[in-house]
């Protein structure tokens, strides 16, 4: 019993939900689709989840969310496969894996690197599942102490973290935050009923629709950018032959402690708003390098440099669900998509999920463990097939992506208005990419904006316009201090420097 919740009963209930044939099937489907797109170039997990979101609306809520989370960690897995074998990280959190993972491939140990990455991920996933099961009730109990100022401060902290973690310019990331907030303002004001930025469109009265925005910014914009890059380099990636999948005993004994450290780092960093997989893998890599007796050898194929970050990004990716499930606050762009999925099913994310919809809550947590097991058992032997997929020509790939996403968007609200919006947001996403701006902070701000406005207005009403309310409440003050430290870290950009090194060829 933790926080008045029977954790073991919960896990048993969750396994009962996750192990029904239908949920196993959709978890498997999600993992496979996720791996597929994680491997394919030019499609990140955010875009994939956005594109496939409409398809899950017809499923029961638990099954829909299980599928989406399957895609999420499947994509993460696929991303590390390509970064190890080809130095093509499918997404930001596997960038560090590419450093030593690809070096191992060049040394002829690519197969072992893949196995170690998969085992480390599975271990971290198992730890994270139990951690979540035990920690969620505590968090849900703590949330009851949260008032409007704490909620506002927490979301503010999340936005600032996303600025710090954005690639490139912090100033541009802040501009993206304001752009996202502005887009989030459209629609009917809850307090006064005033229509804002509706431009006379009925469809905008309930706000800018979420799916067209995300598919436009990530899916369509990705297509435009990839097509443009294809003019310059049409060369298919060269592939080194994959060695035996079995790691040596020495490699395993070096990887094991790194896996444990990485898992623990991920557990806690994943909890931070705006954190999740990316921050976790970077920190784990830095930690391994610091601890190692031979830090100068990192980058030349150190097993620790694969196991640590892979474990960390997996456990971080999972615990990133906790703020969403217990506080109702998405901590990154992918979690923001999960909010969109939940809302469509009529589920309000937040502390009430655990008591109100225990099947959903525990089923989702249990399915994460099931999904991790599937990735290990099914995907590792399939590595050869996944790699063959890289040979699919983009001229067939992009029309397929376009068709599935555009028809899917029509299928959400059955209005062509959303399709026109997608074209506009696709153009916006393309230009933002040209202008070196990241869309992730924009999406996060778009989702958090309406909630932030609500909580800020409520805080000011309670405090009679006194901004000091954020300082007088201890929890809010603590978050304010963290936010300030984060802002300072932009001025001392060791993270930025580290990232430059990781991205530099």
């Amino acid at each position: 019993m933790i926080g008045g919740v029977d954790v073991f009963g919960g896990i048993a209930l969750g396994l009962g939900v996750a192990l029904t044939p239908m949920n196993i099937f959709f978890c498997l489907a999600g993992c496979l689709i996720g791996t597929l797109v994680g491997v394919l170039p030019g499609l990140g997990p955010t875009a994939t989840i956005a594109i496939l979101l409409p398809m899950t609306f017809g499923l029961p809520p638990e099954t829909g969310l299980i599928t989406l989370s399957g895609i999420y960690y499947g994509a993460q897995y696929g991303g590390s496969t390509t970064s190890i074998l080809l130095r093509l990280p499918g997404e930001a959190s596997s960038v560090v894996t590419a450093l030593d993972g690809h070096a191992m491939t060049r040394n002829g140990r690519g197969g072992a690197a893949l196995t170690i990455a998969a085992l480390a991920s599975f271990f971290a996933g198992t730890v994270a599942t139990f951690f979540m099961a035990a920690f969620a009730p505590i968090m849900a109990a703590a949330v009851l102490k949260f008032g409007a100022p704490e909620y506002f401060m927490l979301m503010f902290l999340g936005l600032i973290t996303s600025v710090v973690l954005a690639q490139g310019s912090a100033v541009r990331a802040i501009a993206m935050i304001f752009l996202g907030l502005l887009l989030g303002l459209a629609g009917t004001d809850i307090n006064s009923g005033q229509y804002r930025y509706d431009f006379g469109f009925m469809e905008l009265l309930s706000g800018v629709p979420f799916v067209p925005l995300v598919v436009g910014l990530f899916g369509v914009a990705d297509i435009l950018v990839t097509l443009e890059n294809a003019i310059r380099d049409e060369k298919p990636p060269t592939l080194n032959p994959i060695s035996s999948l079995w790691p040596t005993r020495k490699e395993l004994t070096r990887a094991a402690p790194a896996t444990v450290r990485g898992s623990l780092i991920g557990l806690f960093l994943g909890l931070l708003p705006g954190g999740g997989a990316l921050l976790s893998s970077f920190m784990a890599y830095t930690a391994e390098k610091r601890i190692s007796k031979t830090p100068q050898k990192f980058g030349t194929g150190m097993v620790e440099g694969v196991a640590g970050p892979e474990a960390a990004n997996n456990s971080g990716a999972q615990t990133a669900f906790l703020p969403l499930l217990t506080l109702g606050i998405p901590s990154n762009a992918i979690m923001a998509l999960m909010v969109g999925a939940m809302m469509t099913h009529g589920i309000v994310p937040g502390p009430r999920i655990m008591s109100g919809q225990p099947e959903l809550f525990w089923g989702l947590i249990a399915s994460m463990w099931v999904g991790n097991l599937m990735l290990l058992v099914i995907n590792l032997p399939l590595v050869g097939i996944w790699v063959q997929l890289l040979k699919i020509r983009y001229q067939f790939l992009f029309p397929t992506i376009l068709t599935v996403s555009i028809v899917g968007i029509y299928g959400v609200e059955f209005t062509t208005f959303d399709v026109y919006l997608t074209a506009i947001f696709g153009l916006l996403g393309y230009f933002l990419h040209k202008w070196r701006c990241e869309p992730a902070p924009l999406i996060l701000a778009f989702v958090l904006g309406p909630m932030m406005e609500e909580y800020f207005r409520r805080s000011m009403l309670v405090a009679r316009g006194d901004l000091m309310i954020f300082v007088h409440h201890p929890i809010s003050l603590a978050m304010l201090v963290v936010t300030a430290l984060l802002l300072l870290s932009i001025c001392f950009p060791f993270i930025q420097k580290f990232r430059q090194k990781a991205f530099a060829e």
């Binding site: 490139g168 541009r172 435009l224 003019i231 316009g465």
Partner: protein, 164 residues
Amino acid sequence: MQPDQTVVERDGSHLPLGIFCVLLGTAALWVAQDYDTGTFISMGPGFFPKAVSGLLILMGIVILLLRGRDRPAAEQDARDTPPLAASLRIIGSVTASIIVFAAALMPLGLPFSTFVMVAIAGLGHSGSRPSTILLTAAALAILATVLFAWLLGLQIPVLPEGLR
């Protein structure tokens, strides 16, 4: 990859971005002028729109003033930009394909509008042969109809208006 001034100057992306932020913020501010601002204690529906638009304008000005110095030097890639005509062809064909799909869906039905969308979008990929594009379009039109209208059972018009 050397962080000298010449590399910094070459990245001109701050100019359109800064102007975009300032213009959009100004437009948003102009639209929001009719919304009631309220007081700090009891905010009206106009408080946040005005504050956010104002801050967006401010960020636009900051971006313009920094003139590209806000980006770390290592990320300045010296890759040459593709010719303008090629870019316009890509943007034009993909965007047009989506708009044509939206316009054609109601009167012409799902398979036909998907076919037209893919055919137009295919023009954006230089080096595709017309026959390949048409075959891809036909295959995807069938796929979309089977997947969305039959398997997922969505209420999407399949046949053209006259035949329904």
